[in-house]
């Protein structure tokens, strides 16, 4: 699976304003709603589902990266977005570091495999330090989108 298969480019945010977990999640889901990928009527339900998932254990996987996510019946295919925070967000991560890079995923309840393949793609690409560093330094959504495209075209890593 590639980034282009699930990341909605219109919903990418390069300057996350929020300083806390809930605020960051709300901003990203708002971006997906603005891009018409999340039904405005389902907005609160999606945010609550993602927060509930975080209560079970943080999706801050270390290296300043988090992958907040949920299953939700209002989407018929896996969708996601990327957001960058210059200041960092306290996400109760595995390594205690604040999070600067977010991949938020929403998948249909009956497709757990797609979610795993998206995670595989994200984690594989993030192993490349250059990609990780460039993403965290990206200043515009276009720059983020460009980096994802380059990663899809195997321009990072081995």
């Amino acid at each position: 699976m590639k980034f282009a298969d699930f990341i909605c480019r219109d919903a990418i945010r390069a300057h996350l304003q929020a300083a806390d977990k809930e605020g960051a999640i709300r901003e990203m889901v708002t971006a997906l709603a603005d891009a018409k990928r999340v039904d405005p009527g389902e907005f609160e339900s999606v945010v609550k589902a993602i927060l509930k998932r975080e209560e079970l254990g943080s999706t801050g996987i270390g290296r300043g990266v988090a992958v907040p996510h949920t299953k939700h019946p209002s989407v018929d295919r896996l969708i996601g977005t990327v957001a960058v925070s210059a200041t960092g967000v306290d996400f109760a991560s595995l390594d205690g570091e604040s999070v600067h890079l977010f991949f938020l995923l929403i998948s249909p309840p009956d497709r757990p495999g797609d979610h795993l393949r998206a995670l595989e793609n994200i984690s594989r690409q993030l192993r490349d330090d250059t990609f990780c560093k460039f993403l965290k330094q990206a200043k515009t959504p276009e720059e983020v989108g460009q980096l994802l495209e380059e990663a899809d075209n195997h321009q990072f890593g081995p």
Partner: protein
């Protein structure tokens, strides 16, 4: 002096598989032990203490994984890790 490696097969029983949260739980548990712990799905073997590597296994419900550990606390590490799989990571 090197300790002999121990290994065990576990089945991914929870519906969502080895996703971000379960990978974090597994890595955290593995890190508590003085042991080198590897997880393999078929020929693809990764470090159990590395979340990013674990998520690259794409371990889905029903998949069999080989746990392999070496070091002073190898056996204890595998006991705890196997238990996580048996408990389905408290999911479902």
């Amino acid at each position: 002096m090197s300790e002999p490696a121990v290994s065990r097969t576990v089945i991914v029983a929870n519906r969502a598989g080895l996703h971000a949260r379960t990978a974090v739980i597994l890595a955290k548990a593995a890190k508590r032990f003085d042991a080198r712990v590897l997880v393999a799905k078929g020929p693809h073997q990764v470090d159990a203490k590395d979340v990013l590597q674990l998520m690259q296994l794409v371990a889905e419900q029903g998949d069999a994984l080989q746990l392999e550990a070496s070091g002073p606390e190898a056996r204890q590490a595998l006991d705890v890790l196997e238990d996580l799989f048996l408990k389905k990571f408290d999911e479902d």
